[in-house]
Amino acid sequence: MTLRHRTLEIGCPVPRVDAAAKVTGEEKYAIDHTPGNMLWAGVRRAGVPHGRLRTVHVEEARALPGVLCVLTAADVPGTNRQGIIHKDQPVLAGDRVRHCGDPVALVLAEDRETLAKALALVVPDIEPLPSVHSPEEALRPDAPAIHDSGNVLLQAVIEKGDASSAFGECDAVVEETFAVPFQEHAFLETQNGIAHREADGKLVMTVSTQAPFRDRFEIAQALGLDPLSIRIISPYLGGGFGGKDGATVQCLLALAAMHAGGRPVRMTWEREESFIAGYKRHAVKMHYRVGAKRDGTLHALECDLYYDTGAYAHLGAEVMELGMEHAGGPYRIPNVRVKGWCVYTNNPIAGAMRGFGVCQTTFAVESVMDMLAAKLTLEPLEFRRKNALRRGDENCAGVTMVHSTGIGACLETLGRHPLWLERRDWRRAAPPFKRRGVGLAAVFNAMGYGRGLPDSAIARLELTLDGRIRIYCGVSDMGQGNSAAFVQIAGGILCQDASRLELILPDTDRTHPSGSSSAGRTTYTFGNALVQACNALKEKLFHRAALVLMLDEEKGLALLPGRVRHLPSGREASFELLARMLPEADRASVGQFIMPVAHDVPDTGKEFVIGFPHVFFAYAAHLARVEVDELTGKIEVTEYLAVTDGGKVINPQGFEQQVHGSVAQGLGYALTEQLLLDRGAILNAGFADYILPTALDVPEIISVAAETFEHTGPFGMKGIGEVGTNGPLPAVANAVNDALGRRLTRSPLTASRVLRAMEEGPAQPVT
């Protein structure tokens, strides 16, 4: 197959090596593993948003033939608390249920049908408690306390300068309130896995997960096990987007496996359960006030942010932290005060999702920027360019931008594009009953974990006995193509084509801990470790070849496919020969890397344990062209342009894939996606009523790279996995305002809201 023999050059649009097995259906995801003698595990969920769990009636279910056991909280060893950092989520609810999806009992059965029957027979006895369903409700003094610590997971401030007095120095000030809903990841492969316990007690799990190494610790702490006695295998995920970061099925599966007598157990969340029990993007309410000088220089920004983190923490504090760090946009603003409350409610659990807290504040800040530009009668693009961060500037969190900072280049490139230059003529040519508008957004998104924990990776390479190079990949590939990038990097450095390279996907027994697949970090951090390992292996191969070829110095050697050549003499040593010569331990090389952190930590944001501050950012400038239908209020995005700074592009096709995909998810977030909740119950827990964009709903997306060079990144790159999600909502909202002279401040921008806006008048307050 020609793909396998294509040369892997850095910078070339090499098709992904994982694509071949995926187009034939050969690739096995976690959900495709069905070992023989398999049992099925499932959980009964609370069905009420808040209550005292008095007891769970399990006798009838236990008595059903084919049911091995029914477990409740009493059967959970260890702490019965899972969580990534903040461990407040029970594996099985004890005396309280805090959201409709809280699991109250685990059933283990011979087959799926028996499992379903048994689950229907489990009856939780719950005394309902008053519930709260918004940060506003939860913060009232008389609100019921969801956790012993109260309803505030975290309250924090990021500030610099003196925002409140600085407003007095501004020539123009705008103020507005914005609200965004919960969003669903909607990965096509739902949360699932299989697990079995070996004779020596070791737990082996194949699961759709973004963090196999951390999962072991999360399971171990929840169930009182030894983390190193747990093996997690992470195949390609059928999508993750943050929703498989942190235990989903893992603790429940482990618990089931402990009662399965050595038999393998499967847990698969069907789509409805995935909605009810899975993690969500936080719903947020944001009050913004921003001021500038007459000449357009931004001077002051204040905002209050209320993040609805649902029943349990997941990564709520970290999500809010990142949103707060980005709350001022990619701009120079000397006086900033960002206040955030991350609040528990009895809604579904909010956690990590691509764009991690930033998607939300970007809507607000990019909307107020347009409002401010309008007030100053400045062009929205020029206004942004004037205030855009440059290398060496201090960002809104007070951190000096010492790494690549390409937002200026992105805006400049966008400004030269016909979609921007020809906007006036295009607007005027609107067809009957349509109004046209063009909107911008300047966006950014931090890469990596920030401070407080090591953003680390360890890459291992091995020369196999048949002369191939095996890459031991420590980070999960959820579709972003990082494993293909690793093959390209290794192939590029070692001059091998894909047929000579092998990938071992993450397996805690075989690959090395390298952090989670998240935060846009994997190609950067693991890539850097891999580069190190490749260079070490190259050196080793040259040295060993010199021995084999009897050279008196290691000079003039080159790596070619499958061999080392001594260029002056033309003699070669094949990889197979070298491999046979070397003891196993010597055939490997290991590289490691920790992402650099900010050294000037500003004297603010003290409440954050992890994250604050970040120092690497991807940047982008987005443009949306929309047509609004006057009769129906429907918005059609006719064209979309994304100009992205991801440092140097190591694979243009991979780069575009990320841009397209993140923009598409952002468009869903902008136009149609929202969790509809009625006192914590999800009304649209399925694809019939949770509206995802289809091929007819996503326009042609034009992606342009505005390349900078990120000196610390492998071949100058940095991660762009998330930044694209942040642009569509503000770009489309700004475009709608351009078309109608009306500003929508609540998303999604449904036809109903647009129609109402057209009928009612100028920017309506958030209701």
Partner: protein
């Protein structure tokens, strides 16, 4: 019931409950895990298979309905180890990211091109609008189908 049908070019006979969902029959009884279940309610196209040449949702079909039919799953698309033009185009044009929607998407595209050999990009989008992809934003999928159409029209191998 004793079910007899053609599966990926070969006659098969299976003893199966008549009300077994076809997606379960394929994935579990036949071991063909290429066909995926993503929603179970016909909304996402992940379970797409070809039945007598038409693309259909296997999560909404019952085993009994397959009797005497000609079924093609993603595993049956390539012949003698050679990929279908659509499969090759998906690889070339970067239309595969997580890959979970890919089997259904490829089969939907194959059946689209069989009925409409030279579709416009808009027609491709329409033809694939029943197949949800959460990763790609569809642009490269449309690119791939467009390219495959050209290849097939030029008489290149299937």
């Amino acid at each position: 019931m004793k079910l007899r049908f053609v599966l990926n070019g070969e006659s098969v006979e299976i003893e199966v409950r008549p009300d077994r969902r076809v997606v379960d029959l394929l994935r579990e009884d036949c071991g063909l895990t290429g066909t995926k279940e993503c929603c179970g309610s016909g909304e996402c196209g992940g379970c797409t298979i070809l039945v007598d040449g038409d693309c259909r949702l296997s999560c909404l079909m019952l085993a009994a309905q397959l009797h005497g039919r000609d079924v093609v799953t993603i595993e049956g698309l390539s012949r003698n180890g050679r990929l279908h033009a659509v499969q090759e185009a998906f690889i070339e044009h970067g239309a595969v990211q997580c890959g979970f929607c890919t089997p259904g998407m490829v089969l939907a595209a194959v059946s689209l091109l069989a009925r409409q050999p030279r579709p416009s990009r808009e027609q491709i989008r329409e033809g694939l609008s029943g197949n949800i992809c959460r990763c790609t934003g569809y642009v490269k999928i449309v690119d791939a189908v467009e390219a495959a159409a050209l290849k097939l029209a030029n008489g290149d191998r299937r």
